[in-house]
């Protein structure tokens, strides 16, 4: 049940093997890449299973939409390869377990899904967010993070229930069928991962950036341009939903922020490093974070703009030390609307 939409024949026919050839954390020549990909597909051992940084990038690189990363995670679990230590994996799963405390609540559009980030609901405030209904809690946690822990099984177990919770406790009875996902990962879960796993989603996920872009249009007269250079930290989850990338550019344009072109952005973005630390690869995490932040600093950016709360928790302090103002994109838009002081 919930098999991944994957056809090994597509890989056999693929000449470029972009999923491995473009990997930022492992190096291959084309022959080895094809060999390792065949090993993965067939369930044989592969150094990819232990070397994978779980950055999701190969999902984006694959020209065939053949879900190379989901398959890596599948094989890791099948073969008992754990990227993170067993106690940490188990403890994280316990920490994020649904509490079963969800109760029906009437909502009205726009419904904003805050996943399991109750501490961020303060970001959802006027004028950028207009009369929203907010849903949040352990029972609607999207569960996509288990991709980093070789636990597709937990996703399969929890995600259908989460989707059902959202639909039955909030949306259906209120006649709302669109869900605005504040967290990139939630949008990726419902729009990319769920279909890939053949899990049905009865509602339409909307990326928060699409909503924000619309609101900025409506509030155009109130915008005071930021007039600053910004460096954007593209999170791993964006790799699953590259089609949303244009919203980021549009939002920056609308608020008068210049997204500086730098080395580690867009398709060359680097992981924030926190997952690498969970995998006990501290030196790699140090290297990745240093390169990323130095790149931001060298670009002359004033702000380090985040999409993902986890990236922000990981990098904000270090970004500030480099002289960059860490801020979530939503809060930067609020600042452009001069609603209140930007909160880092």
């Amino acid at each position: 049940m919930y098999d991944i939409n994957f056809d090994p024949a597509n890989c056999e026919a693929c000449d470029t093997c972009d999923c491995l050839m473009r990997c930022q954390y492992m190096t291959f020549d084309i022959a080895e890449a094809k060999r390792e990909k065949a090993n993965i597909n067939s369930g044989r051992d592969s150094r990819v299973l232990t070397g994978c940084a779980t950055c999701y990038a190969c999902e984006e690189y694959c020209p065939n939409g053949n879900h190379p990363f989901y398959v890596i995670v599948e094989r890791q679990e099948e073969k008992g390869f754990l990227p993170a230590p067993a106690p940490i994996t188990r403890q994280q799963i316990l920490m994020m377990k649904p509490k079963g405390t969800i109760t029906p609540k009437p909502v009205r559009a726009p419904v904003i899904d805050m996943c399991y980030f109750p501490m961020l609901t303060g970001s959802i405030r006027p004028p950028l967010y207009e009369n929203p209904s907010i849903i949040v809690g352990s029972d609607i946690f999207c569960n996509i993070m288990w991709l980093h822990f070789a636990r597709n099984s937990v996703i399969r177990e929890q995600l259908p229930r989460v989707i059902e919770n959202i639909w039955h406790f909030y949306l259906r009875d209120s006649g709302v069928d669109e869900l605005i996902c504040f967290h990139d990962e939630c949008y990726a879960t419902f729009s990319h991962l769920a279909p890939a796993f053949n899990i049905e989603v009865p509602f339409k996920p909307i990326h928060v950036f699409e909503y924000i872009a619309g609101r900025l249009d409506a509030l155009e007269d109130a915008i005071k341009p930021i007039n600053a250079k910004v460096a954007y930290q593209r999170p791993c989850s964006s790799r699953l939903i590259p089609e949303t990338g244009h919203w980021v550019d549009e939002i920056f344009l609308k608020i008068g922020a210049e997204r500086i072109e730098r080395r580690y952005d867009r398709e060359n973005a680097l992981c924030c490093g926190q997952v690498l630390r969970a995998h006990q690869r501290d030196e790699l995490a140090d290297d990745v974070q240093n390169r990323n932040l130095e790149d931001m600093k060298a670009s002359g950016a004033a702000y380090c703009v985040f999409n993902c709360p986890a990236c922000m928790l990981t990098l904000a302090e270090a970004a500030a030390e480099k002289g960059l103002f860490p801020i979530h994109l939503s809060d930067l838009c609020q600042a452009a609307l001069q609603a209140d002081a930007a909160k880092g």
């Binding site: 230590p85 106690p87 403890q91 316990l94 969970a278 006990q280």
Partner: protein, 459 residues
């Protein structure tokens, strides 16, 4: 006792003497489970001279005298078991001297941990002392005299190991300096003289009143970090602790195991605190510590939690304020713990013992340990929360504490800052010649038996 109040009022001033019911009530107990024992009088001296006069007056009248710091021992060691006078030392809280180059602080006995910490932060930011996890109101002298431990104990031992010298008032009224300060204006060490400090450490105030003490200070690094190592198998812990402590780069190594929140149950966490002058040094130390337990990381049986900076703050706090919150677990304002000093190699047995007692007696628990020295021993604690408004709950916690003390002793550990009943258990097990020697020492120092009677006796 007729005129003792007046005598004391003459010495310290009437505003610092009380035989009112209110003071007698509050000073009759500490926040632990031990039952109330009311003193007859509470007195608060402001100087060594006043302490001396008080002691002389008490000695002349054979009135029991109980020195008290902040009263946070939790095992009731500052209760007036036989009535008498409680000597609240906290007015004597001057920081007399900070010797920066020789790294020591000379303080009066009532100086609190918090005030010394604040003083150093402001005036000597390159220095710190080893802060226990007791609340900041706890006194330096109280903690040293019970062989306390704290945030430098992996690097430097028990807090009593960090003691350079004492000024004490003997039960017979003499003021004695112990350590280099007896010979020199500097309070830099107890060596190379015959070490009399031990006569006042671990004795629960039964041998005299400490009025001043000098303690070692340590470099206060500008950069600090913590790694929290997690595993699920207690049998691995002795080796994990051995390896981590073997690097000798950390300042504090503590483990914690708790059933709440739910995600923590069954996991053993080991906090490794370290500091450095530069970022590179900090990373180097992190890598050294990590390399020490590489084998566990490689076989996936253990690893360091991926904690972002702001989530580490509570583990970097000294003292750890959250520990006090354990007292509210039963909504009852109480917790008490058995701190068992034992070899680190007994970790798995110590842990199983705690789980067993908690299950059998159905008590809320929290367990953990602090490594003393380079794995030379550990202070393994079994904390039990209770609701002080519910006598049954108090009794349950008391039962758990008693059972824990017994089993700790049977295991080969020694209960730390043991309450009077546990002291008797220890004495029963002790080498009889040591028991006799303790008795002899006390009879010499305190012929009238005035100092905190009821402690370390009764067998």
């Amino acid at each position: 006792m007729d005129n003792i109040s007046e005598v004391l009022a003459e010495i310290v001033g009437p505003e610092y003497v009380s035989d009112f019911p209110e003071e007698k009530y509050i000073y009759s107990m500490d926040p632990g489970t031990m039952p109330a024992c009311e003193p007859d009088i509470v007195v608060m001296p402001g100087s060594t001279e006043e302490v001396q006069k008080i002691v002389q007056a008490a000695n002349a009248r054979r009135v029991p005298l109980v020195p008290l710091g902040a009263g946070l021992v939790l095992s009731g060691l500052s209760r007036a078991l036989k009535g008498g006078i409680v000597l609240d030392m906290k007015r004597m809280n001057r920081i007399v001297e900070i010797n920066e180059v020789s790294r020591y602080a000379l303080v009066e006995a009532g100086t609190s941990q918090g005030m010394l910490q604040a003083h150093l932060k402001k005036h000597f930011p390159n220095l710190k002392h080893s802060v226990p996890d007791a609340p900041p109101a706890a006194t330096i002298a109280g903690n040293v005299s019970i062989h306390g431990s704290g945030h430098m104990s992996h690097a430097a031992g028990f807090h009593s190991d960090m003691l350079n010298g004492l000024e004490v008032v003997l039960p017979t009224g003499e003021v004695v300096r112990i350590g280099s300060c007896a010979v020199s204006p500097y309070w830099f060490a107890r060596a190379p003289l015959p070490d009399l400090a031990g006569l006042f450490l671990g004795w629960a105030g039964t041998t005299g009143v400490i009025t001043k003490l000098a303690i070692k200070l340590y470099p206060n690094y500008p950069l600090n970090d913590v790694g929290v190592f997690v595993c699920e198998d207690a049998s691995l812990m002795p080796d994990i602790l051995y390896r981590i402590t073997g690097t000798q780069v950390a300042e504090d190594v503590t483990a914690w195991m708790t059933p709440k929140p739910d995600w923590a149950a069954g996991f053993l966490h080991c906090n490794v605190n370290y500091g450095a002058q530069t970022k590179n040094e900090l990373i180097w130390k992190r890598n050294l510590i990590r390399a020490a337990v590489e084998n566990y990381i490689d076989d996936k049986t253990g690893g360091f939690l991926p904690l972002p900076g702001m989530m580490k703050q509570r583990f970097l706090e000294a003292p750890n304020r959250q520990l006090a919150q354990f007292a509210d677990v039963r909504k009852g304002g109480g917790f008490e713990y058995v701190g068992a000093i034992m070899p680190a190699e007994l970790f798995p047995e110590a842990y199983e013992l705690g789980l067993d007692i908690a299950q059998k007696l159905a008590v809320s628990y929290s367990m953990g340990c602090r490594i003393i020295g380079v794995n030379h021993s550990m202070m393994f604690y079994y904390a039990y929360a209770f609701n002080r408004a519910d006598p049954d709950d108090v009794a349950r916690a008391q039962g758990a504490l008693e059972e824990t003390n017994k089993r700790v002793l049977a295991l080969g550990g020694v209960p730390w800052k043991a309450e009077a009943p546990a002291q008797r258990e220890i004495l029963h097990k002790m080498d009889p010649n040591m028991v006799e020697m303790m008795r002899r020492v006390r009879s010499v120092l305190d012929p009238n038996g005035i100092m905190n009677p009821g402690n370390w006796e009764g067998i």
